[in-house]
């Protein structure tokens, strides 16, 4: 009798099921809304269960498209993007996306199929050592070895991906584990004794920063994506206003502070604006909140903020002091740090001269471009996209010149409206990431700003846009070249244009037509205006092939090896 009672009790806490069922149940527990997946041999047991599962499944047309879509979804929704790929080539096709998500701290939970445990290590059909391949580009990865571990491992994966500094987690799923049955705890405890991100900053460091602010004559805040991940834009605004400190943004931090705010100095870095870069160069107190001092931001480190005391708020202690010596290290969540700083109500800096200087620069050195008769200027196209969307669209870009123009000419009012591949600079990212962003927020206006070359790295995903009838507005900045590469060859390689001019291109309009997506070729501003008014409001996808000035360059620019004060092309 007693034994029987004990037995039923155990039963209640455990369930007997097959591995794939346990996986899908675990995903439901994590409230997963969408899976970006592509089937194949090793994941067939999982797909057989997906057949009956009500989680929305998106079939990209290439696994790389699937993982970039998951990245776009993660960036906009704030939740983990979920990806399934089969073993071998399916798994290796997602490598770029993992590296991209690792660099830009995007939470992903990725499941790869694996050959059955019995043949692992024998070079079996479609076997790849995906754990070995992805170790340096995942926050964590592991292989499921026992069916009963599935619920715990999945729970841990979501926890690791979405907490602390977010990042991609990969779970390798051998076929026999997915197909086999076992008994697993229904509600497992996670067991991660080595993983305890610091959330709450050290009070003494916060005090130190408050004192430094009160003494500063030329303070500036550098706001990065950490502010966005912490959902702390409003706190940043409150703090900057309370202390009257101007704010510059990193590329990935755009939107964390309203561009229209009087304290906003704009984008800093290689193609940032004069004011933001000079503010970083001349400041005496640099407060970095959630940015990692990437080299495209700092330029030559020898000349970076030479006179500044540096304070750095980061949830990842390894980022502090990595590139720039830091006097005031603050390990913790950007939101928590800002709350503590605001509460201090420290003495405001006396910096009227500094503020005047910054205002002067802002007036003197705005972004500029030259009109060229009837030629369509990319900067103008960006401005028109801004106007047509009231500045509150989700803007997703690929990588290249168009990406920089989007960053410069779409001054974001709100957080989490900007999706771009920053750290890895992955061409082919834009179109699928726009799909993910639109799925995350169906009612939002999503504009995909792409180069003609990058578009061709993910063209196949047009099929998904049609299939799901996603109202993504695709704006191709068609300069018939690998524009950014061409620019570098022009400036640094004596105009020796080695393979940066695209010799032949399909008709993008006909291509879109083949996918049953409406498309227009646009060659003038008047045409642009007319068509944008016509298409930007409706709920249909559209592809706009903007024939822009072919030899336009992005300015200002900081050449590699130069400091932030050595910008070229700051004025007409």
């Amino acid at each position: 009798m007693l034994q029987e009672a004990a037995f039923t009790e155990v039963k209640a806490e455990k369930q007997t099921a097959n591995g794939a069922d346990l996986l899908l149940d675990s995903l439901k527990k994590e409230k997963v809304e969408v899976i970006f997946g592509y089937p194949g041999g090793a994941v067939l047991p999982i797909y057989d269960k997906i057949y009956d599962c009500d989680i929305f499944h998106v079939l990209p047309r290439h696994e790389q498209g699937g993982i970039h879509a998951a990245e776009g979804y993660a960036r906009i929704s704030g939740k983990a993007g979920v990806v399934i790929a089969t073993s071998g080539p399916g798994a290796t096709n997602i490598v770029t996306g993992l590296a991209d998500a690792m660099m830009d701290s995007l939470p992903l939970v990725v499941f790869t199929g694996q050959v059955a445990t019995g043949v692992i290590g024998t070079d079996a059909f479609q076997e790849a050592d995906i754990l070995g391949i992805t170790t340096p580009i995942t926050k964590y990865n592991c292989q499921v070895r026992n069916i009963e571990d599935i619920p715990r491992i999945v729970k841990e994966a979501f926890h690791i991906a979405t907490t602390g500094r977010p990042g991609p987690v990969l779970i390798d799923f051998p076929k026999d584990i997915a197909a086999g049955t076992g008994e697993a705890p229904v509600d497992p405890e996670i067991s991660l004794p080595g993983y305890q991100p610091t959330i709450e900053p050290n009070y003494l460091q916060i005090r130190k920063l408050t004192e430094a602010v009160s003494r500063a004559k030329k303070p500036v805040i550098l706001a990065g994506a950490g502010v966005l991940f912490a959902k702390a834009s409003h706190l940043l605004q409150e703090y900057a206003q309370q202390q009257n400190i101007p704010v510059v943004n990193t590329l990935l931090g755009l939107g964390s502070f309203p561009a229209s705010h009087p304290l906003s100095l704009g984008l800093a870095g290689m193609h940032g604006c004069y004011t933001a870069n000079m503010a970083l160069y001349e400041c005496d107190l640099l407060i970095n909140i959630g940015a990692r001092f990437d080299d495209r931001l700092t330029g030559n480190l020898k000349h970076f903020a030479p006179n500044a005391t540096v304070a750095h708020v980061d949830i990842d202690p390894a980022e502090i002091g990595k590139n720039v010596p830091t006097a005031i290290p603050i390990v913790g969540d950007a939101g928590e740090a800002l709350k503590m700083l605001i509460k201090q109500e420290g003495k405001k800096p006396e910096h009227s001269q500094w503020m005047e200087k910054l205002e002067g620069w802002k007036k003197e050195y705005p972004y500029w471009y030259e009109e060229e008769g009837s030629v369509l200027k990319p900067q103008r196209v960006m401005e028109m996209l801004y106007e047509q969307t009231n500045g509150d669209a989700i803007v997703v870009t690929d990588v290249g010149q168009h990406q920089m123009w989007a960053a410069q000419y779409y001054p974001f009012k709100n957080p989490d409206r900007w999706v771009t591949s920053g750290g890895l600079g992955t061409m082919g990212f834009g179109l699928p990431a726009a799909i993910g962003a639109q799925i995350a927020e169906p009612s939002a206006r999503v504009v995909a700003v792409l180069g003609d070359a990058g578009f061709q790295m993910s063209t196949q995903e047009l099929a998904v846009i049609r299939e799901l009838n996603l109202p993504v507005k695709i704006a191709i900045f068609n300069n018939q070249s690998l524009g950014m590469v061409r620019q570098w060859q022009q400036i640094f390689y004596e105009e020796r244009y080695a393979h940066s001019k695209i010799p032949s291109q399909p008709s993008f309009v006909k291509l879109a037509d083949a996918y049953d997506i409406k498309a227009y070729q646009i060659t003038s501003e008047a045409e642009a205006k007319e068509i944008l008014e016509q298409v930007m409001e409706n709920d249909e996808p559209v592809l706009l092939d903007f024939r822009i000035a072919e030899n336009e360059n992005v300015y200002p620019m900081i050449a590699p090896g130069k400091g932030l004060h050595e910008m070229v092309g700051v004025k007409k």
Binding site: L131, P136, N141, C142, R145, G194, Y195, A318
Partner: protein, 171 residues
């Protein structure tokens, strides 16, 4: 400069791979690495000796290691009083003419002969890396046929003297 870093890690598959990978990804130079179980089940101890140019790099290494999910604890014990040991096996040519001479070297180093062949001996020696290196230098002229070293493993001493930055044991 050489630094000794000790890690306690969860003994999960792939953990060693993740750690060695990190060294190559970040371009850090490992001199030696040794791994083994600890007194606690499921927990291993890794001892790395690294060669770095400055303190900034060692700080980065420990922070990056600490960030790994399966790493429980990282300590740079170089500035503490430590006991550090390494074991080496040395197969040396030892024809009858030189055999006695070799034996006479073994004794002061408290090494031992663990295998005797017709033309060669296998010597086992434990101690700090410097001692082992000194011994190898002395043995080299006799003709080393094979050499295997385990890499350093180390503990901080139970009592730390306050002012001595380094305090290596003699034997």
């Amino acid at each position: 400069m050489k630094r000794i870093i000790t890690l306690t890690v969860l003994n999960r598959p792939g953990v060693l791979n993740r750690i060695t990978n990190l060294f190559s990804k970040r371009n850090y130079n490992i001199e030696s690495i040794s791994v083994g179980h600890t007194e606690q089940e499921g927990i291993s101890r890794i001892t790395c000796v690294v060669n770095v140019e400055n303190d900034g790099i060692i700080e980065q290494i420990t922070k990056q290691l600490n960030k790994q999910v399966d790493v429980l604890k990282v300590a740079d014990i170089s500035d503490q009083a430590v006991v550090a040991r390494e074991l080496a096996l040395i197969k040396v040519q030892a024809p009858p003419q030189t055999r006695n001479e070799i034996y006479s070297l073994i004794e002061p180093f408290r090494a031992s002969v663990i295998d005797v062949g017709k033309e060669s001996l296998i010597i086992q020696i434990t101690g700090e890396s410097e001692k082992i290196e000194a011994f190898i230098e002395l043995i080299k002229p006799y003709g080393i046929k094979e050499l295997a070293r385990t890499g350093t493993t180390a503990f901080p001493r139970s009592s730390q003297r306050l002012n001595s930055a380094k305090n290596y044991s003699i034997v």
